[in-house]
Symmetry: C2
Subunit: 292 residues, 2 copies
């Protein structure tokens, strides 16, 4: 079981090298993160985008990679996604391109790479105050998930947890309380999601929970909450993107957390870090995509 | 302007002593926090509840206080609220009593102490990574606020900010993005709230914001976001109680934050910390209530 990012990197080292295609490969921070992964032998890179700009950055960064020229960002997205579709690359990464432009190609019915389920974002956090990795979903992608979407969001997260060696992940569906309250729809939905997954052998889904009772054993004990995901969740599921996004920003900016983020639900994992994410966060996201 | 809890305590010391009534005064952690405030001369306490149990705890803690006997928690709530209503006490504090029992008395039309607006919860956080206090609302009380409720939640928070000496508080209305997105109602509501308060002279209300852009100057600069509450909000307003509650739990458990929390909108501030809050958090909440 992977409990920190060093162990994640070691797991990646034991896997066959993957081919990583970067859409908008001219971005310097992205190239540095890719170089870090390439130097460890984890990936071989293909950079798609304006060839002259890509090569300019390569000179600075020293990254060796195949270059595929594309004049516009739309062209870059189409070419990068095509490389996944044809099996010439294993992992897709967002570089200097708007998320909307890249995802439009990903979900294209004719030429895209979406599977039958839902694309959702899974973040793996390393947080100094926790002695394990914490998965969180969805902090960045699915705007207004309904019940079926949430089932799929959880399914996607379970796959990531299993890939990290967590045999029976404890998935906590969050609300603002641990009691079902008809005035708080998120608490009722959490209970319904727990019922939906009841009886599964390879996952425990429980809720509703207030956050403290699934990240702190002491808080759970103090409130007399046991079983399910009490005290130590592996995965937290947010009631909506606002809460997820606020959690993400809070732990990164106020709790020194390092995030690794990928989009799952497509034929390949997609590394979709934001411009504001650090080189380190981008590197760990690449390694996470390798392993999933 | 008050930028940390020490300054808050010093401000309290310069104010006339207040009379604090505790509903359910037999709780030990509450008594210790009250003793701390009493020893500094900030408050004089009245403890309402089962007299024998209250005195038992007093023996342990060493808190001198007037005791008002009440057999049931309902009776304690009624007697404590009555003391505020008749002007015999200035601050109401929740001790060993369910929040619902206490608030039922607070909002009673005949005998309660609610003003015409909305009761809402304001938390003041001291967070190690920030060099100022951060106000947050509503993390604990109003379950499903509509637009009018949110206006009142903001009004209540502005009053607290002014009491802390922040002449023109920067209030950031949060969403998961800083762009208005019709698919994300919280972003549209944030923009509408900003419009509602436009032109106010004693407050700046702006939004929507993703959290990072109002707690981190660097994040705001990186995204080119300026003006309004960019970089340094004094008050953050959550889209709903789930996001607020998750933020509260995250900063307390993962970012070593100390919270002080009160309910505002009644004739007196109400110290309404939860059982899980520390003695320190309860003490600072008392001081906050003194000052507001």
């Amino acid at each position: 079981m992977i409990t920190d990012f060093n162990a994640l990197v070691n797991l990646g080292k034991n896997l066959p090298q993957k081919r990583l295609v970067v859409c908008g490969g001219e971005n310097e921070t992205v190239q540095r993160a890719v170089k870090h992964a390439a130097d460890l032998g984890l990936v071989k890179a293909i950079l798609v985008g304006p060839a002259d700009k890509i090569r300019e950055t390569q000179c600075k960064v020293g990254l060796e990679a195949e270059v595929v020229d594309a004049e516009s960002r739309e062209e870059a997205a189409a070419k990068a996604v095509a490389l996944i579709r044809t099996g010439e690359a294993d992992i897709l990464m967002k570089g200097m391109v708007d998320t909307s432009v890249l995802l439009k190609e990903v979900v294209n019915r004719e030429t895209g790479i979406r599977l039958s389920g839902l694309l959702s974002h899974v973040t793996v956090f390393s947080i100094p105050k926790l002695n394990r990795l914490l998965l969180a979903t969805d902090c960045a992608m699915v705007i207004a998930p309904d019940f079926t979407d949430k089932v799929r969001i959880i399914d996607n997260a379970i796959n990531v947890a299993h890939a990290l060696g967590i045999a029976i992940p404890k998935v906590a569906v969050l609300s603002a309380t641990e009691k079902v309250n008809p005035k708080m729809p998120s608490s009722e939905e959490a209970a319904a999601l727990a019922r939906h997954f009841a009886g599964s052998e390879d996952v425990i889904v429980a809720g509703p929970y207030a956050l403290d009772n699934v990240i702190s054993e002491e808080a759970a004990r103090h409130k007399g909450i046991t079983g399910g995901a009490a005290g130590a969740a592996d995965v937290i599921v947010f009631p909506g993107i606002e809460a997820g996004n606020i959690f993400y920003k809070t732990v990164v900016h106020l709790a020194d957390a390092v995030p690794a983020g990928i989009v799952v639900g497509a034929r390949s994992p997609i590394v979709l870090t934001s411009r504001a994410d650090s080189e380190q966060a981008k590197f760990y996201s690449i390694v996470l995509a390798m392993v999933v």
